[in-house]
């Protein structure tokens, strides 16, 4: 059985599993990291959004064999650690606006929001409606109104 080593939330992990198992299932079913959620398995609902080396991506559509030993995976559980705090500013903004309803998509929404703010800044502007329109994470409870507010509010503290 092939072995795969990479970094998850600041810790090196090694798993024994076939190369082509998608990283989402390695995180959830093998490592027991349940923050990234399954919603489609084909990279369209974005409920599993995590970061790889600081960029948003969807582990449902990445083979574990394609993850390098030096790759740093961050799930919602590890997001506060990236700012060395109990909560990331985006999570605080989420709490302030009481965004979550059922909460199922929210880890992915928050991970996407953080990356989208960074992406906008790298392009030389603050995150705005046009950037938020590009976020593909679905919320079946329909919390989009508060997400829109929380992203703008969280960005100001990032």
């Amino acid at each position: 059985m092939p072995q795969h080593t990479f970094i998850v939330n600041g810790k090196q992990v090694t798993v024994d599993i076939e190369d082509d198992v998608r990283l989402l299932w390695v995180l959830r079913d093998v490592l027991g990291i349940n923050g990234p959620k399954y919603g489609c398995g084909i990279n369209v609902c974005k409920a599993c959004t995590c970061h790889i080396n600081g960029k948003a991506f969807n582990p449902c559509s990445v083979r574990v064999g394609d993850v390098e030993p030096t790759d740093e995976i961050t799930t919602i559980e590890g997001l506060p650690g990236t700012v060395d705090a109990d909560l990331h500013p985006m999570q605080e903004a989420w709490l302030e606006r009481d965004v979550a309803q059922c909460g199922y998509c929210q880890p992915g929404q928050i991970m996407a929001a953080v990356a989208k703010v960074r992406q906008a800044r790298a392009a030389g502007h603050e995150v705005g409606d046009a950037d938020i329109d590009e976020i593909r994470n679905i919320c079946r409870c329909g919390t989009y109104a508060r997400i829109r507010e929380a992203i703008k509010s969280g960005a100001q503290r990032m």
Binding site: V30, I42, C102, I147
Partner: protein, 787 residues
């Protein structure tokens, strides 16, 4: 002003024997023998408030106005209800095991607020969990019809008030004081001179040695400090940190991932499987078993389940609708339509008519159907998000030939429900798979299963004919014709048990399930003279897998009505808002209409191809009005987004909502915001296409629920101050007027009244995924899209 009084509003209820002139109302509850203080109340004590109407030509009360669905659900609770208990713990916290499903609608937070109010305990010291199936509750552990707050408002408060009363008595003994000199405050009983005892100190001292009935009074509304104030959800921190656990996150020993290879057409069945042994040898796979709905595979990871399900070579038997497509279903519906009855009324009478089609819509939540089942020879244990857990327990027991007492059903937090989790099919699949494999399973539906074999809102048509003369609307007829809705799981039992006894119907069970629900929920909220609304259904209830989708029939029924109302206003030369204002039959509806118009700046100048619309709705003992602004300019409609539909954009929504007594305005606002997104989806983008027995949609990239790029830039919900003093429903309440307002705005912006919903249904804007193998393989190029 005419008063329409519910026939039951003057009747006394168990535990509510007060008369209005006798001062504060006293409630009966219980002290329960337990190691620490436990106070309880029976469910089923809520009251019906009278409704008002007036103006124009009064329409006689319709069934939904004198006896709506919530009255029926509440009544169902009364004769069979049992105790719900608030327990005080030695650490000073209180616990409440709630016999309802939390699926995002905020009822655990609502319950904690009610307890905090009466018990004078901080919100963060109250732990609300979801109760396992409690068969003794019979009909009283059923989450549907936006009824939870309505039916639990008094019982939860009564239990908490009895606990507070008992704490005061225990403290009085300890402090050698009289109860009247003591004050409960933030988890302490305080006495003059600064002496105080914590609730934790009193938890055992206040415990009762015997279970006995006691009386209590509830805090008057003027003293509310928590009820009616905006509060955040009690599970918000868990949600944003990823700690909130759903069924698929449970770590039940040896319950390995399990999925099902399903048939290519709706309700097809397994003929034979050619390669079971080969698939069992695939990486990670432990078991393969044929069950009633397909072939179940159990593996180390869900990813390996997907691969195994796709590798199975199955010959399938036909399903229930292999010859059916959108066109054949619509044709059959049209043949089943009941004719409109009112004849032409003469040369001075104008007529407005319309016929509207509403296509199939999927009701899956984002968390797919999931159930953990551990079936043993003489027992079974189930974990799943369930709206009707008692029925689930009975069904599992029946399937396994076990007594109900041998089946334990744990209710898990749901990642959305919308009606889907009234049906226990995933549990029955997990039970069968666990039994046949002889091992625990964690069974999850793939998203594609949800789209193609899940439940859907039935396709339907609504025909309306309205006549007017001399500034009044004389008649308003609506004929709603639908594919049959399946009410047999959970919902059906209550309806069939009570439909024959409900006063305005009184015709026994022959009316079936759907007609009572229709008559108990629909209304025309305007004084339009002679109003008739009839439902006719076609197909049997189990031909198509159907269900409600965040409301029953009202999103469609009211959308059809409001489109006709706008046309009536135009024909009669009136502004749409002023017209509604003149004809609404309820002061609360008029008040929310005025508020939405005011805050939404009704009538402000709009660019060409953009427009406002405003609509109302009354249901769930409340009223809403929604003002929508839509952008149908070509540059907006034709904007391109990869794997998405764009089309018209709702740019701004203002909704005013009156639920009688909002318990948590922030939670109510959230529910309305969610309802608005459903309304947008159902009018503009969301539908299923049926072709030769297969639903073409297969995931979120072709089933177009509202996405960020479809969402309004501005969404404002105005929660009206309390009006009736009794709470109404919220979960489904936001959808009907939103859907109707989007449709009316589209009509006004484009000059074309839409007649088929969603408006993009006629264009298939995607390539359907294959049906064999059943599941789309997971891509491998995810890193290319990193940002």
């Amino acid at each position: 002003m005419e008063q329409r009084r519910s026939p039951r509003s003057g009747l006394s209820r168990p535990g509510n024997s007060h008369r209005p002139d006798m001062g504060r109302r006293r409630f009966l509850g219980y002290l329960v023998a337990a190691p620490t203080l436990a106070a309880a109340a029976q469910l089923g004590q809520s009251l019906t408030s009278p409704r008002e109407a007036g103006a124009a030509i009064p329409s006689p009360p319709e069934p939904s106005e004198v006896y709506d669905l919530n009255d029926l659900l509440t009544l169902a609770a009364t004769p069979t209800s049992n105790l719900i208990a608030v327990v005080l713990n030695k650490d000073g916290t209180a616990s409440f095991d709630m016999p309802r499903a939390e699926s995002g609608q905020g009822i655990t937070t609502m319950a904690a607020m009610l307890i905090a109010e009466e018990l004078e305990l901080p919100l963060d010291k109250i732990d609300v969990t979801l109760a396992d199936a409690r068969p003794e509750l019979v009909f009283n552990q059923f989450t549907a019809g936006s009824n939870t707050t309505i039916s639990m408002y008094n019982p939860i408060r009564v239990a908490a008030a009895i606990a507070r009363q008992q704490l005061l008595r225990a403290a009085a003994i300890q402090l050698d004081e009289t109860v009247t000199r003591l004050t409960p405050h933030l988890g302490f009983i305080e006495a003059p001179g600064g002496r105080k005892l914590s609730y934790g100190d009193l938890a055992e001292l206040a415990a009762s040695q015997e279970t006995k009935e006691v009386e209590t009074e509830l805090k008057p509304r003027s003293q509310f400090k928590i009820i009616g104030t905006p509060r955040n959800r009690i599970d918000a921190l868990d949600a944003v940190t990823g700690r909130k656990k759903f069924a698929m996150d449970l770590d039940v020993p040896d319950a390995l991932p399990t999925m099902i290879c399903r048939p290519p057409t709706i309700k097809g069945t397994v003929g034979s499987v050619a390669n079971v042994d080969a698939v069992r040898e695939m990486p990670g796979v432990t078991d393969v078993a044929t069950i009633a709905t397909g072939v179940a595979v159990r593996a180390k990871t869900f990813g390996q389940c997907i691969d195994a399900a796709n590798a199975l070579e199955v010959s399938w038997n036909p399903g229930t609708v292999d010859g059916e497509s959108d066109e054949t279903v619509l044709d059959r519906i049209k043949k089943a339509e009941i004719p409109l009855a009112v004849p032409k009324l003469g040369p001075l009478t104008g007529v407005v008519e319309g016929e509207f089609t509403f296509h199939f819509r999927n009701n899956a939540a984002l968390e797919p159907n999931t159930a953990v089942a551990d079936v043993r020879p003489d027992s079974a244990e189930i974990w799943a998000p369930l709206q009707s857990p008692i029925l689930c327990q009975q069904q599992v027991a029946e399937q396994l030939g076990l007594p109900v007492s041998a089946v334990t059903v744990h209710v898990e937090q749901a990642g959305g429900a919308f009606g889907r989790r009234m049906f226990n099919d995933v549990v029955l699949e997990a039970t069968e798979a666990s039994r046949k494999m002889g091992k625990p399973v964690k069974l999850m539906w793939h998203r594609t299963d949800e789209c193609r074999q899940g439940r859907m809102h039935p396709m339907c048509t609504s025909r309306i004919r309205a006549s007017y003369a001399g500034g009044n609307v004389l008649t308003f007829e609506q004929r709603h014709t639908s594919v049959a809705t399946d009410y047999t799981q959970g919902f059906g039992e209550i309806i069939t048990a009570l439909a024959g006894k409900v006063p305005p119907l009184g015709q026994g069970n022959e009316l079936g399930f759907s007609v009572p629900v229709f008559e108990l929920t629909v209304n025309v909220p305007y004084n339009f003279g002679v109003v008739t609304q009839l439902l006719n259904e076609t197909y049997t209830y189990d031909t198509f897998p159907t269900s409600s989708v965040r409301n029953l029939v009202n999103p469609d029924v009211r959308t059809a009505q409001e489109l006709i109302v706008d046309q009536l206003a135009a024909k009669m030369g009136k502004d749409p808002y002023e017209f509604r204002r003149a004809f609404v039959d309820d002061e609360r509806v008029r008040a929310v209409l005025d508020k939405a118009a005011e805050v939404g700046e009704w009538g402000r100048a709009m660019e060409p191809n953009t427009a406002q619309a405003i609509t109302v709705h009354k249901e769930y003992k409340g009223a809403t009005a929604t003002l929508v602004e839509i952008d149908c300019r070509p540059e907006t409609v034709n904007r391109k987004i990869r794997n998405a539909v764009t089309g018209p954009r709702v740019t701004r929504v203002v909704m005013a909502v009156d639920t009688g007594l909002p318990i948590n305005p922030r939670g109510l606002e959230a529910q309305m915001q969610g309802g608005i997104m459903d309304g947008i989806a159902q009018t503009l983008t969301s539908s299923l296409h049926l072709k030769d027995g297969t639903l073409l949609e297969g995931s979120w990239d072709d089933y177009f629920y509202t996405r960020h790029w479809n969402a309004p830039f501005e969404t404002k919900v105005v929660v009206m101050p309390p009006t009736t003093g009794e709470p109404g429903g919220a979960g489904e309440f936001g959808v009907p007027s939103s859907m109707a307002a989007v449709a009316c705005a589209y009509a006004r912006a484009t000059g074309t009244v839409p007649t088929s919903f969603p408006i993009n249904h006629a264009t298939l804007s995607f390539t359907p995924k294959p049906t064999v193998p059943p599941l789309p393989p997971s891509p491998t190029n995810g890193l290319k899209f990193a940002y």
